[in-house]
């Protein structure tokens, strides 16, 4: 009898242990059985913008890996459905439509470049889908869209804010007096003029030359000769990598060495320091994101990038992809549902914390202006402004060209 009771007790214990283990496993079972949240859209994985597009994809996937390891979003795993738009804006629009109407994705992710993001924004608005991206400069955020957000946005209008804020701290007698401004004739280049016009007036810098050029800029000799002859002591080369390189090479060859050279988008591309070496040094520019920022998350991303790609700092567009998803993640978690309007409303009224810093959005979907002044010093993009994020004192005036 005693034996029977003992075996019964043992059986109950086994059953209890099994029930307990199932209970403990429950969240994991529930997670793996949950229908994934599908996040769709397109990136330029081939074609002209492939390099950048691939880094954005890596940023998105790193975010997904991270959130899935933490139990997913709203308790569900996330997965991406990424189309390759081949760097074609038309295809980016088609794939955005397809993701929403055919694939019936739960969320959209931000695309690249600005022209593609600008073209997808009305699609997102039409279908009432939240679209967190870099946007396509100020005009794209002034179209009355209510579902688009820039987190952070890539704004030409803000691009030189950090540089000018630093320049304002330089004693007036040491500041440049005469500016040569050469701008690539496209929406990105022209958007850079906004801060130049505002700040040069404020700092009493005369714009002596203000010219636009159409891409491709195959030769910058005439540009540099004009700037040199006009005794311009600050050069704004408002363009991309190819025209930036052409301009820098001509400036050195023609012995033009102003107090400061400010370059648009090209100088923050990693290839700038790699390809130009010392000739690429001392160029000022700006950025809205950097692995050197002290906001939470940056160290973790840098460590991952170091381990996986042996780079000292995450590439800008890896950070962009990650930051857009961080924003969307907080909005979905805050709204607690996948209802797009509720997600949008949450974003309009709450603060998000990203690797680019904390942000709240205005009715255009824009945060407060974000820009950090940069300068290439010893082959590294250093943050020079504002003071609280400075990684190095800027070098000014520009030293003579190295022989």
């Amino acid at each position: 009898m005693m034996k029977v009771q003992r075996s019964n007790v043992f059986s109950w214990l086994v059953i209890a242990a099994i029930i307990c283990s199932f209970t403990l496993m429950a969240p994991a079972v529930g997670f793996s059985a949950g229908k994934p949240i599908v996040i769709g859209g397109s990136l330029p994985l081939t074609g002209a913008y492939a390099e950048t597009g691939q880094w954005i994809e890596k940023g998105l996937r790193f975010w997904a890996e991270e959130i899935n390891s933490k139990g997913g979003l709203l308790g569900r795993p996330v997965e991406f459905k990424i189309y390759d738009d081949q760097s074609d804006v038309g295809k980016a629009v088609t794939f955005a439509e397809k993701a929403i109407t055919v694939d019936k994705v739960d969320l959209l992710f931000g695309g690249y470049p600005g022209t593609a993001a600008r073209a997808v924004m009305p699609v997102a608005e039409k279908h009432r889908f939240v679209y967190v991206s870099m946007g396509g400069h100020m005009k794209s955020f002034e179209q009355g869209y209510t579902y688009s957000f820039g987190a952070p946005p890539l704004m030409g209008e803000w691009w030189y804010e950090g540089f000018f804020q630093w320049l304002a701290t330089v004693p007036a007698d040491k500041r440049p007096k005469r500016a040569a401004v050469y701008t690539i004739n496209n929406p990105v280049g022209l958007s850079l003029m906004d801060s130049i016009n505002r700040w040069t007036k404020k700092l009493n810098i005369e714009i002596v030359i203000n010219e636009k050029y159409n891409a491709p800029l195959t030769d910058a000799t005439a540009l540099i000769v004009k700037a040199k002859q006009s005794k311009c002591d600050i050069l704004f080369a408002n363009g991309f990598f190819p025209d930036g390189v052409t301009t820098m090479k001509a400036a050195k060859a023609l012995g033009y060495n102003p107090k400061a050279i400010v370059q648009g988008i090209g100088s923050v591309v990693p290839a700038w320091v790699k390809e130009l070496g010392r000739d690429g040094d001392y160029v000022f520019s700006g950025t809205c994101l950097s692995g050197q920022l002290k906001y939470p998350g940056n160290d973790k991303l840098n460590a991952y990038i170091k381990k996986t790609y042996n780079l000292n700092e995450y590439p800008l567009y890896f950070g962009f992809g990650y930051s857009w998803m961080q924003t969307l993640e907080q909005a979905v978690a805050g709204a607690k549902v996948l209802d797009q309007t509720k997600i949008r409303d949450w974003l309009k009224t709450n603060k998000v914390n990203t690797i680019a810093g904390p942000m709240t959005f205005d009715k255009r979907g824009l945060p407060e202006p974000i820009n950090f002044g940069t300068q290439i010093i010893n082959g590294k993009v250093e943050l020079i402004s504002p003071k609280n994020i400075q990684t190095k004192e800027p070098v000014y005036p520009k030293p003579a060209w190295e022989k």
């Binding site: 492939a50 390099e51 004739n185 005439a222 000769v225 002859q229 060859a253 023609l254 990693p270 290839a271």
Partner: protein, 292 residues
């Protein structure tokens, strides 16, 4: 108007134009002799540029030496490609159209191969003299421009002499001017076409290296280069080596003067406006006479 600015812009324009001429001369030959519009011509130029880039980065080989080395390598490669791809389409009803479609595909393949090997990052060819200049009075002759100009001049002269003075060269011209008569005289048209194609591709490689001395490049840069190829060939006349060289110089002068006298944003408008004018009034190019 400042004389220094005018002269300086003119020098740069002319030197640049000559580089376009070297890049374009092979494009013109294949079009003229074989009726093949080789859309992948610029991609072969880019291949030369990438090869020179790697040789400089890893072995310290000067781009001038790379240009000399690239010629035989690309020549052999092009012979193989001719047999494999171009020769079969010579039987097509419309060789021009067939060649355009085929070489468009080839350009995409080459672009993707280059992106795989060298990645999509922009590259800059930076030999020690890449941002130096020879200073003569108030004028600066930038070394990369000088080297590119010199190499192009040599390349075009060698090609011209080859076509003018050698038996094979004369056969190429004969095949272009009177294909049936050339065949009757025992000229092997397939062999001549292969040589023409290989010559064109090898000059493209050298031209690509010259252009890479002046501008940065990426795997898709050949699309941009193709625009200038059409420009020099249409202005210079299809199949005309001297015409192409002259077209390069004319385009260089016009670009240089436009940069000196007009707002910069007008330069491309003026340059490509020239293309329109030529297409309307001189569709055969500068010279009325066809050929070398």
């Amino acid at each position: 108007m400042d004389a220094v600015l005018i002269f300086q812009s003119l020098i740069s324009g002319i030197m640049m134009g000559m580089v376009y001429a070297l890049l374009g001369v092979g494009f013109s030959l294949t079009w003229g002799v074989m009726h093949v519009i080789n859309i992948s011509h610029g991609a072969f130029g880019l291949l030369g540029a990438y090869a020179a880039y790697s040789l400089l980065q890893y072995f310290g080989v000067d781009p001038v030496a790379s240009a000399a080395m690239s010629v035989p390598v690309l020549f052999l490669m092009a012979c193989g490609l001719y047999q494999l791809l171009i020769r079969p389409i010579s039987r097509a009803k419309n060789v021009v159209m067939a060649s355009m479609i085929l070489t468009f595909g080839l350009a995409i393949i080459l672009e993707n191969i280059m992106a795989l090997i060298w990645k999509a990052d922009p590259r800059v060819l930076t030999p020690t003299y890449s941002s130096g200049a020879l200073i003569v009075g108030p004028f600066y002759f930038q070394y990369p421009h000088l080297v590119g100009f010199g190499l192009s001049l040599v390349g075009i002269t060698v090609l011209y002499l080859f076509l003018k003075k050698t038996y094979t060269g004369m056969a190429v011209r004969a095949a272009w001017q009177q294909p049936e008569a050339a065949r009757l005289y025992g000229v092997n048209l397939f062999q001549i076409s292969m040589i023409t194609f290989a010559l064109a591709v090898s000059t493209a490689g050298a031209g690509g290296i010259c252009l890479a001395l002046l501008n940065s490049f990426e795997p898709h840069s050949h699309n941009l280069w193709l625009i200038y190829l059409f420009l020099v060939v249409i202005v210079g006349g299809v199949g005309n080596v001297i015409g192409t060289a002259l077209a390069g110089l004319i385009i260089g002068v016009i670009t240089g003067l436009s940069m000196a006298f007009l707002p910069f944003q007008w330069v491309n408008l003026v340059t490509f406006g020239l293309l329109m004018v030529f297409l309307i009034f001189r569709p055969h190019g500068i010279f009325k006479q066809e050929g070398v």
